[in-house]
């Protein structure tokens, strides 16, 4: 087609400019029309319409689902290389890169605009976390909502009402969970169950077992020697062996295992206690089994323990957990990890709280800190045995264990006292059934977050009770069905904000209280918040701020901090991989858990201490516990509590980029992934998310089988325009972070390995120095990691913007939309007036109109 601009296209350009003045929209820059005309319209104009595709009328303004679909097709066929056809003129690399870059970004924006709900907040179902917390608030018991169907979400947060679905299975699980929660709650006896106590010293049984094993090995070995001495006359059978192989087998077994057992038994410490060890087949545990007859509840495990002289500092940690049916030798469902500071001269007594469930495993194990994996323990043992014949030296000694419980804070338990508000002795009431009716009504109102249930509903609940009662059940049994039914009713499961006859309205104080508490606690309001709301004061900005501050200081705000941070920063990646225990012996489950905690505790400290959000980009301190300090090589940090620790000036730690969790997320458990890391930085820190991985981009295959340095790989990414459009921005950042290995430890060099596909070019290895210099998308250059971190910290406003959008999304329970821009700007303005304090963003948000409005 030779004519210049078609009328339809001109029109769209005109409307575009008029439109652009009004409000932002997604549009391809006009500059690309030349590319379009040169390479596309020849075949795809209104006259030719090859393949049924007519691009003539395609507006450069992407403002409808239909135009987005057509542009998506353009993007897809360019990405896949299907268009332009091979025998037609091709776009230059530069043209293609810029075109694809613009189009993929504009398309993301167009999808966002087209998906924008105009600030509408869809009614939200309690997600798993909120459900667990709400049940705990009502009944005072812990339940595990794992059995509920997952809160699916295409992307975004688990507070997004529109994405929280409901299914029939969900309903049935709610009923089931409610019944089991009520079973735990309704402990109605007059006195609490008797406290059980049990003390054990494990060394007699352990030593006896090891002696027996050692004696057996020795006996077989001695007989093997006897046969060897008499080999001319006698057969192995005469000595109880099958054949010569069997003899050799027992000799080998003796050499492998006997020295280890002997050495253990000869140690003086084994006479007075048990040494936690890594053995041939996993870890040595000290185990306590709690009798199934003992009541469920909170118990205390007292452990008298010491670290052996000379044990390395990273091994002086005791892990504890539950032995599960699936776990192999030495493996635990971990519950915690504590440092051991006691010595053999002066052992310490640790007190560890444990929860004993009615059903499920009642076997608790203690072991030296290590990878939670039998193969790892075995590999570690063998490696050490090669050097010293006996295996790794032990680090911890346990003298004895005592368990006692169950302990109750109050009796009757809080849940019972709340339900049976006139006393648990229902049989003493003048009218039992009237009491039952009151109990049901009170509970329903509380469960509905003090919204009055309808009389018809209450009547039906009461009928459920009566039916059970007339079937011969007692009050406390008959009452379960109606109570469980309440916990599966919409009034409980949904946060309901009706708008009768309106399109939007201001929330009532009570509704505002509910929104606030589910935002900051993932739980219903407490008594204080309800009182402020009932007094009609919560809508006063000062009162609202006061309550928000109080709630942020309350430990319950951990629900907000941890779940928000986890989702905002995409921390689920931390659980995707098992870290290779050979390469990263110290990055075990306990360190991983502490690394995850570090992110949350750092955020908590930034909020509580009224520090700027920018502290998350760069800081002169870290918030760590003893375990993580040990991992980072920071001296002098005592205690299992997370605490602020100052850093030396040249430390790479401080801020998200220096955290083990962040760097581990940017790996696959074996190798660091510069692409993952670079993309994460662009998404989370620079608020410049790369478009989603495009479909159908041809894979690079030219370099297959070659041993490439990171830089060479980076250059390869630049060869194809489809790759270059994103990787030219992503990769330099990722390579700037290569000084952190896959588990977040600092390194100056890295080893490249390449397993050949064919035997002949087997594994090749190369050690290279890390070269971290590069450039940010905005143009700032950096020489090394410190420079990269400083450059990113300089772009604090982008970080603030991204954070604000995420916060709006989490708090309002709907995707951030372009109609939220003015809200975002207001929050930014207010927080920046206070030096960008993280807490100020939260205060500004809860006081904003959208947070106080149902739309």
């Amino acid at each position: 087609m030779k004519s210049a601009l078609t009328p339809a296209f001109l029109l769209s350009l005109l409307t575009l400019s008029a439109y652009a003045a009004e409000k932002p929209g997604a549009a391809m820059p006009e500059a690309h029309f030349a590319v379009f005309e040169k390479y596309c319209l020849e075949c795809h104009d209104s006259l030719t319409e090859e393949g049924g595709v007519n691009l003539d009328d395609l507006s450069f303004k992407i403002d409808s689902v239909a135009s987005a679909e057509l542009w998506q097709k353009v993007l897809n066929s360019l990405n896949s290389g299907d268009m332009p056809p091979e025998d037609e003129p091709q776009l230059s690399d530069e043209e293609k890169t810029v075109f694809l870059d613009d189009l993929s970004h504009e398309l993301v924006e167009a999808r966002e605009i087209l998906s924008d709900s105009g600030g509408m907040i869809t009614m939200r179902r309690l997600n798993r976390r909120e459900y667990e917390n709400t049940i705990h608030d009502l009944l005072g018991v812990e339940i595990d909502a794992e059995d509920l169907p997952a809160d699916t979400n295409s992307d975004g947060f688990d507070t997004t009402g529109a994405s929280l679905f409901f299914s029939s299975d969900q309903f049935e699980q709610y009923l089931k969970l409610a019944h089991s929660a009520l079973d735990k709650t309704l402990l109605l006896s007059k006195e609490p169950p008797r406290v059980m106590r049990f003390e054990r010293e494990s060394e007699p049984s352990v030593n006896q077992f090891f002696e027996k094993q050692a004696a057996k090995l020795k006996r077989n070995f001695d007989q093997a020697q006897e046969w060897r001495a008499a080999a001319q006359e006698k057969t192995p059978k005469d000595f109880g062996f099958i054949d010569e192989n069997d003899v050799a087998f027992h000799e080998r077994l003796y050499n492998q295992q006997y020295p280890t057992y002997r050495q253990y038994l000869d140690r003086p410490e084994s006479k007075t206690g048990i040494l936690l060890y890594r053995l041939f087949n996993g870890a040595v545990l000290d185990t306590v089994n709690i009798s199934p007859k003992w009541p469920a509840g909170e118990y205390t495990l007292k452990v008298r323990v010491a670290a052996l002289k000379g044990a390395p500092s990273h091994e002086r940690f005791l892990e504890y957990g539950v032995k599960t049916a699936n776990g192999r030798a030495g493996e635990l469902d971990l519950r915690g990890c504590v440092e051991v500071t006691g010595t053999m001269d002066n052992p310490q007594t640790l007190e560890i709280p444990v929860t004993v469930e009615q059903s499920g495993s009642r076997s608790f194990g203690l072991r030296q800190r290590q990878h939670n994996n039998r193969d790892a323990a075995r590999a570690y043992f063998l490696r050490s045995q090669v050097q010293n014949k006996v295996g790794p030296p032990p680090a911890l000694w346990i003298d004895r264990i005592e368990i006692s419980g169950p302990h109750f804070e109050t009796w009757p338990p809080r849940g019972v006292a709340d339900l049976f508000f006139k006393g648990r002795e229902w049989w003493k009431q003048p009218d039992e059934d009237a009491y039952a009716r009151e109990i049901i009504e009170r509970f329903a109102t509380r469960a509905f977050r003090i919204k009055e249930p309808s009389p018809a509903y209450l009547e039906k609940l009461y009928e459920l009770y009566s039916k059970e009662k007339s079937g011969g059940k007692k009050l406390h049994e008959a009452i379960r069905e109606p109570l469980a039914t309440i916990l599966a009713s919409p009034g409980f499961l949904y946060l309901i904000e009706p708008v009768p006859g309106q399109s939007k309205r201001e929330l009532t104080d009570l509704e505002l209280a509910v929104r606030l508490s589910y935002f900051l606690w993932s739980a219903p309001p407490d008594k204080t918040l309800y009182e402020v709301a009932r007094a009609g004061e919560l809508n006063h900005p000062a009162k609202l701020a006061e309550q928000t501050n109080r709630m942020l200081r309350d430990p319950r705000s951990d629900a907000f901090i941890s779940s928000f941070a986890h989702q905002w920063l995409h921390m689920e990646r931390l659980d995707f991989f098992q870290f290779d225990f050979r390469q990263f012996p110290e990055f075990d489950d306990s360190v991983k858990a502490a690394a995850r905690r570090e992110v949350y505790e750092t955020i908590r400290s930034v909020i509580n201490e009224q520090r700027p959000l920018g502290d998350l980009l760069k800081a002169d301190h870290v918030v760590v516990n003893n375990l993580l300090a040990n991992y980072y090589g920071l001296e002098g940090v005592e205690g299992d509590a997370f605490q602020k620790v100052s850093l030396p000036a040249d430390s790479p730690r401080g801020g998200l980029l220096g955290m083990a969790a962040t760097m581990a997320m940017g790996s696959d458990g074996n190798r660091s992934s510069p692409v993952e890391r670079g993309a994460w930085v662009m998404r989370k820190l620079l608020d410049d998310p790369p478009p989603p991985a495009p479909a159908n981009v041809p894979q690079l295959s030219r370099l297959e089988g070659q041993l490439l340095s990171p830089r060479e790989l980076q250059n390869a990414h630049m060869e194809e325009a489809q790759c270059a459009q994103c990787h030219r921005k992503i990769d330099p950042i990722g390579y700037g972070l290569e000084n952190f290995d896959a588990a977040g430890k600092w390194r100056e060099t890295m080893i490249l390995t390449q397993a050949g596909r064919k035997k002949k070019n087997a594994k090749r290895k190369m050690v290279i120095d890390i070269d971290a210099h590069g450039q940010l998308p905005g143009g700032a250059t950096f020489e090394d990691f410190a420079g990269l971190r400083d450059s990113i910290a300089n772009q604090r406003s982008a970080f603030e913007r991204g954070f604000t959008e995420a916060l709006i999304e989490y708090a309002l329970g709907r995707p951030y939309g372009f109609s939220d821009e003015s809200l975002r700007e207001k929050l930014l303005k207010r927080a920046r007036a206070k030096d960008g304090e993280m807490r100020e963003f939260i205060l500004a948000l809860v006081q904003s109109k959208p947070f106080r409005t149902k739309k």
């Binding site: 689902v65 699916t152 009713s489 009706p498």
Partner: protein, 433 residues
């Protein structure tokens, strides 16, 4: 009747006492008791198996040039050699609207356009198995069975709770472990009939009560919130249907399959887990507990259980070397497990002497071709349930033939009359020619 000194299952099946001795075709035994003399055609069944991340591109797909019966099985498919005459490999099927390079299952059976509804960032529509269940599920204890695996989505399936989506385009939950599937399908409630009847009545009163609250909740809700609450109403309706079914089936004990099944262990993962799930599907078909199955398969744990240390996502971006090795091993293992499953289907006989396999249609595939490619979805169809002429490699002329055309063909082939499914444009005639 043959006289055979040692009766085996086959002779039992042929014997006149088959209906009593053998626990197959539960519903026939139940429903058609009065007319047991008239032979009834075995029911049609459908099975959908979703693999998640795609396959190894150059070693799974047969050569495009060799179509028809005259094609060679690739290394990825070679474990299926003994069934070659009974399988069909189809190329060039795709879902035109899917642009999500990591979502192998979300739209696989639906063909929906995520963005079709302005003001929403996600929508889906009914999956083909649920369409089938509306018809095929009427006669059985369970209208359909969805299977899955435990843990998050690191296997390339994308959002969803199973492969299945209901009429409203909402996710349908799955039985996520062999042990839960086992109990749902085969465990009997040991409480006496009278008590179970009373319990059902009670459950109806519970539903009645929550509906009362739902009705008053609905008052004054916005349009979007009303839609949201409709999910709740819809769920309660589904349970009511399920309860009616349970009432019907209350005095019919769950049948046990001919090969006794043990309760599966709690911690099964990966290949072992998949084997047990296949066994469960087979047993469930034998006793006619359901006629429609979907199974969203674990991939991450599958390759890990095969000794791999890389993740499924890493595997899906193979380059030469370990990643590709894992990917190729996975393809072969998939085919091996599937071949074994087909063996099982062929070994179980129906009342009319045909096998389960003859009356079932099975599809193994995913929405992801390989790496991030979403064109030419890997698709393998087998079984005689929809009258497909097997033993061939079909390459669609149009490289963008809707995958939904296949789903529509399977529906129609299985006797479910419907005009369209998803973005289908018509039946794939070549399947039957």
């Amino acid at each position: 009747m043959k006289s055979n000194p040692i009766p085996n299952r086959r002779t039992f099946l042929q014997s006149s006492s088959a209906l009593i001795a053998l626990p197959f075709l539960e519903s026939f035994g139940f429903r058609c008791f009065a007319s047991a003399a008239t032979p009834v055609a075995p029911p049609k069944r459908l099975v959908f198996l979703g693999m998640g991340f795609g396959v190894t591109r150059d070693s799974w797909f047969p050569d495009l040039k060799t179509t028809g019966a005259d094609y060679e099985l690739t290394p990825g498919l070679s474990p299926l050699a003994r069934h070659k005459d009974d399988i069909t490999v189809i190329q060039n099927l795709a879902n035109q609207f899917n642009n999500e390079a990591h979502w192998g299952s979300t739209f696989w059976l639906t063909g929906a356009n995520r963005y079709a509804e302005p003001g929403q960032s996600f929508r889906n529509s009914i999956s083909v198995d649920q369409v089938a269940a509306e018809t095929l599920g009427k006669e059985t204890r369970f209208s359909s069975i969805q299977l899955g695996y435990r843990g998050g989505d690191n296997s390339g399936h994308g959002p969803g709770l199973s492969l299945s989506w209901n009429r409203q385009g909402k996710p349908v939950a799955a039985l996520n472990t062999p042990v839960t599937a086992f109990h749902r399908l085969f465990s009997d409630d040991s409480t006496p009939l009278g008590e179970r009847q009373a319990a059902l009545l009670q459950r109806r009163s519970v539903l009645d009560t929550v509906l009362e609250d739902a009705k008053s909740t609905r008052k004054g809700l916005s349009k979007a919130d009303t839609d949201k609450l409709d999910e709740y109403f819809q769920s309660i309706r589904e349970i009511e249907t399920r309860l009616s079914k349970e009432e019907e089936w209350l005095d019919v004990p769950k049948r046990k399959p001919s090969q006794p099944l043990k309760e599966p262990g709690e911690g099964l993962e990966g290949v072992e887990e998949m084997k047990v799930m296949y066994d469960l599907i087979l047993a469930a078909m034998e006793v006619d507990a359901s006629r429609v199955f979907s199974y969203r398969q674990p991939l991450d744990t599958m390759i890990r259980s095969m000794g791999s240390t890389i993740t499924a996502h890493n595997m899906s971006h193979y380059s030469d070397g370990p990643r590709k090795d894992v990917s190729e091993q996975r393809d072969a293992k998939q085919s091996e497990l599937f071949a074994h499953f087909i063996d099982g289907m062929k070994s179980i006989q129906e009342a009319d002497g045909t096998s389960l396999f003859d009356n079932t249609t099975l599809t193994l595939g995913t929405n992801i071709n390989s790496i991030h490619y979403l064109n030419n979805c890997p698709t393998l169809v087998t079984g005689g349930g929809s009258g497909i002429k097997h033993g061939r490699h079909l390459v669609m002329k149009d490289p963008k033939t809707p995958l939904c055309n296949l789903w529509l063909s399977l529906l129609n082939g299985s006797g479910i009359e419907t005009e369209s499914h998803g973005d289908s444009t018509g039946i794939i005639d070549e399947l039957f020619a």
